[in-house]
């Protein structure tokens, strides 16, 4: 049967697939390495997510020395407690 026979077409396709596989593995390694470097450099790993979180605030040393007067209490009566996402 012709299908069982190794044809030049199959050789070319195998070569292409193996090369693409190698490129993809290298890409994964690259992204992994980049992540390690970024984490080691202490880059911001999480952004503002519409809810204030202590982990996404600037370090305490950056705060101004005199925070000024405390903000006035909101005029609106407190509404129901916000839903907690998790």
């Amino acid at each position: 049967m012709a299908l069982a026979r190794e044809h030049d077409l199959h050789r070319r396709r195998r070569g292409r697939n193996v090369a693409l596989g190698v490129v993809l593995v290298l890409f994964v390694a690259l992204v992994f390495g980049l992540s390690i470097v970024k984490i080691e450099q202490g880059d911001m790993m999480e952004a503002f997510d519409h809810q204030p979180r202590a982990s996404a605030l600037p370090p305490a040393g950056d705060a101004p020395a005199d925070p000024g007067p405390a903000p006035a209490a909101p005029l609106d009566p407190p509404g129901p407690a916000p839903e907690v996402a998790r």
């Binding site: 012709a2 044809h7 030049d8 077409l9 070319r12 396709r13 070569g15 292409r16 090369a19 693409l20 690259l30 390495g33 980049l34 470097v37 970024k38 450099q41």
Partner: protein
Amino acid sequence: MSDIPAYEAGGDAEFRDYVALLKPRVMSLVVFTAFVGLWIAPVAVNPFVAFCAVLFIALGGGASGALNMWYDADIDAVMRRTQGRPIPAGRIAGPEALGVGLFLSGLSVMMLGLAANWFAAAFLAFTIFFYAVVYTMWLKRWTPQNIVIGGAAGAFPPMIGWACATGGIGIESLLMFALIFFWTPPHFWALALFMKDDYSDAGVPMLTVTHGRTVTRRHIFAYTLVLAPFALALGLTSVGGPVYLAVSAVLNVLFIAGGWRILRRTEPQAQADGYAVERSFFKLSLYYTFLHFAALLAQHAVGGL
């Protein structure tokens, strides 16, 4: 035979055809200049991040090369020099090249944004747009100044490299841009003088075809004069110094002298010695950029002004 003849004709692409689609030779200039721009910038970059950034800039350059080959497949099929490219040779289909170009454009811009910063990524996106749309689609077939304006696309990589490190633009990166921008026309026109490519058959208005060879010679000399002050001015910035200035002064004297010799020659004289002067000027132009950027690296290594 039970095989399908179309496959016998080599219609199935190999991996190297996809690599050829990215114009690896053009990429080498992009890699080198982008690396220099990034490395000599005043902000230190982690070596692995620098490696990734240069890689993604090169990938973006390759993507724009694929888009260029997709759009120019009709011209490439006419010119002898480009008939063997994957699309005119029938190994890769046009729409597939378009897909590869668009995918790699998106990937390179996104990854550069994540690896370096989003200003550099936006700059890369603009460069791809400039080469694929402004140069390839608008200018190349319309004006004999195509090389001049299209040269900007090749001049952006050191600026992108600089932007990866600093997040912005500086006088140094603008002068690196000017160095490649004003170098490109004499480089390509010297090639056009002795290659005598079949541009006219392909309908590409090269200056040698539209305005003649005497005008082209005059243009080459004029650009060597315009280029020199920008190249030397770079030596007076924070990335310059005595090493760079010495190299640049020698190269510019040689380049202007070469341009002058090209200007003084007539076409019969050039034909008589097989375009020897034009060929040596072209070779000098290759060393010109390489040595300027190598000098910037050397100057960075020994310290600036």
